[in-house]
């Protein structure tokens, strides 16, 4: 397991050549083909995600949404034998270029996982972990970061009196909001959320969705969800994945009321999947 394990990367325009014309969006994927060893998992996927907008990735399970999401913060690097063709750009720069510092990339592109995974530490130490490893030592600064991120994650009121208690004692919904706060503490620009509410009850889910709505102002949020109603509620743009192919990508309203592709309509209306 290593952060930054070398993988083979080929871009259409050559390794260090000029990047293809971009739309200027925060995150842009261009003609991405992705392979696990011999198996191809993503076929020619191109889409863009931007700030002040939530982009949802929907589709039946196993069709590549999470794989695609993990490309954006290069978490797939942890798996041996993977290969990527095409490019993934952050602010117009290829994140798979050999000059890129993966560790810094992951600071800029944060991730919240499907099952909340707080560290076996106190609430305070969970949130402070990120800033600490990136060099913040001063106690008052950390206090401030902890408070502001927990506030933004709508958790501060519930935990402000027990910051030193174990994070594992929180409820599922609280733990997930803690993980969101933890991710926010390193000041990312992009927030990737992999089915963040799938393990939560409806009340906790509603809180998370409300949070996403508040956060999208300042972050580029890309969320994977298998819950179509959630995608409809929460997102501005939706991408429908099926078997590794991006079938359709467009404004959420359009995808859900008047999709261009028949396959999309079939999925939305529940004819399968």
């Amino acid at each position: 397991m290593g952060a930054g394990t070398p993988i083979r990367v080929e871009t259409r325009a050559g390794q260090n050549g000029p990047t293809p014309a971009t739309s200027g969006a925060k995150i842009e994927a261009m003609h991405v083909d992705f392979f696990y060893g011999k198996t191809q998992a993503l076929y020619d996927v191109s889409l863009a995600a931007d700030t002040s907008r939530v982009t949802a990735l929907i589709g039946p399970s196993g069709c590549g949404k999470s794989t695609f999401l993990r490309l954006i913060n290069r978490m797939n690097d942890l798996i041996p034998g993977i290969r990527l063709e095409g490019s993934v750009l952050l602010d117009g720069e290829d994140i798979y270029a050999s000059s890129v510092d993966v560790v810094d990339l992951r600071r800029r592109v944060g991730m919240v996982f499907q099952r909340s995974n707080p560290f076996p530490k106190s609430i305070y130490d969970n949130v402070a972990y990120g800033p600490r490893i990136h060099g913040v030592r001063d106690r008052r600064t950390l206090d401030g970061i902890v408070e502001s991120t927990l506030e933004r994650a709508a958790l501060w009121g519930e935990v402000k009196d027990r910051l030193d208690s174990s994070a594992l004692a929180l409820s599922g919904g609280q733990q997930q909001r803690l993980c969101i706060a933890r991710a926010l503490a390193v000041e990312p620009e992009v927030l990737l959320m992999d089915e963040p509410a799938s393990a939560l009850d409806p009340l906790a889910t509603a809180k998370i969705e409300e949070l996403i709505h508040e956060l999208k102002e300042h972050y580029t949020i890309i969320i994977v969800t298998h819950n179509m109603q959630q995608a409809a509620r929460v997102s501005d743009m939706t991408a429908y994945f099926y078997l590794g192919h991006l079938i359709e990508f467009g404004p959420t309203v359009q995808i859900f009321t008047n999709p261009e592709r028949q396959e999309t309509e079939d999925y939305i209306t529940g004819r399968f999947g």
Partner: protein
Amino acid sequence: MAGVLPEAARIARATGAARSERVIARSRLSRLAERIVEGGVFLSAWIAILVIFLIFVFIGREALPLLWDTPQPGLEAEAVTLDRLVGPTYYSDRPPAYVWQPVSTVPKYNLVPLVVGTLKATVVAVLFAAPLAILAAIFSSEFAPRWLREIIKPTIELLAGLPSVVLGFFALMVLASWLQDLLGLTFRLNALNAGIALGLAVIPIIFTVSEDALTAVPNSYREASYALGANQWETASRIVVPAAVPGMFAGVVLGFGRAVGETMVVLMASGNAAITSWNFVEPVRTLSATIAAELGEVVFGSPHYRVLFLIGILLFAFTFVVNLSGELYVRRLKERLEGRTAG
């Protein structure tokens, strides 16, 4: 059971196949045999428990008479009493000392030199083995590429498979001379020599338990750490190792227990002199080695014989407690780690 397969029985009769009828009828008898075998299974289960109990009883049986044996008149000096076991011997011409000297005109059965000797050897062993084993386990679990791991783990298994008599042999023939030349020691066989060899015997168990503790840390923690921009070293040192510390500690405790009970290594490598001192380059005598060295020459039933069995009971009780607490601790840790992350 004979009536269970009526169709088969009918066909058997119709075709005149006498053998299959016997098979169908045989199953009634096998019910009884089955009961007997199952009884055997339950009996075997009890044997493990019984053995632990018997060990305690039969070793204690040989030692217990110490409590109530009244010495023959004139031989009071030979009697073994509690303060003889732990209190110093008072000489008329020398300062009082703790002496284990069972074979002498006035036998002395003081256990203190033996306990001190055991402590010296095992402390050296743990100080030598624990850092090596724990660091090696961290390397193997967190940093080593797969091919290197495939070399380290079999090495540890091989080391674990070395008979202790071979380790003692090596310590006596080779290690002792090296140490003596390296450090200019007076005594070739001493606590340091025995301790290092003992440490070698104990490395595998500390390594294995520590490695288990490290791999038991859920991967989701590592992922969360990487996703926040931490590198391998930070993730290992701030998240994984701290979570595994209790398990590593249990490993060291188990290693310590193993070192206390180990006999052959110290028997061959420590010089076997019951000296009470805190000098680590003098010979020592441990509790277990004392039993092994002297049991062959005692008179059956003599106080000396009984004291040796008493030492045996002490060793058994000690390792029983250490192992029990080590096991319980590791089990509770596993439950806690699994219970928490299941939510």
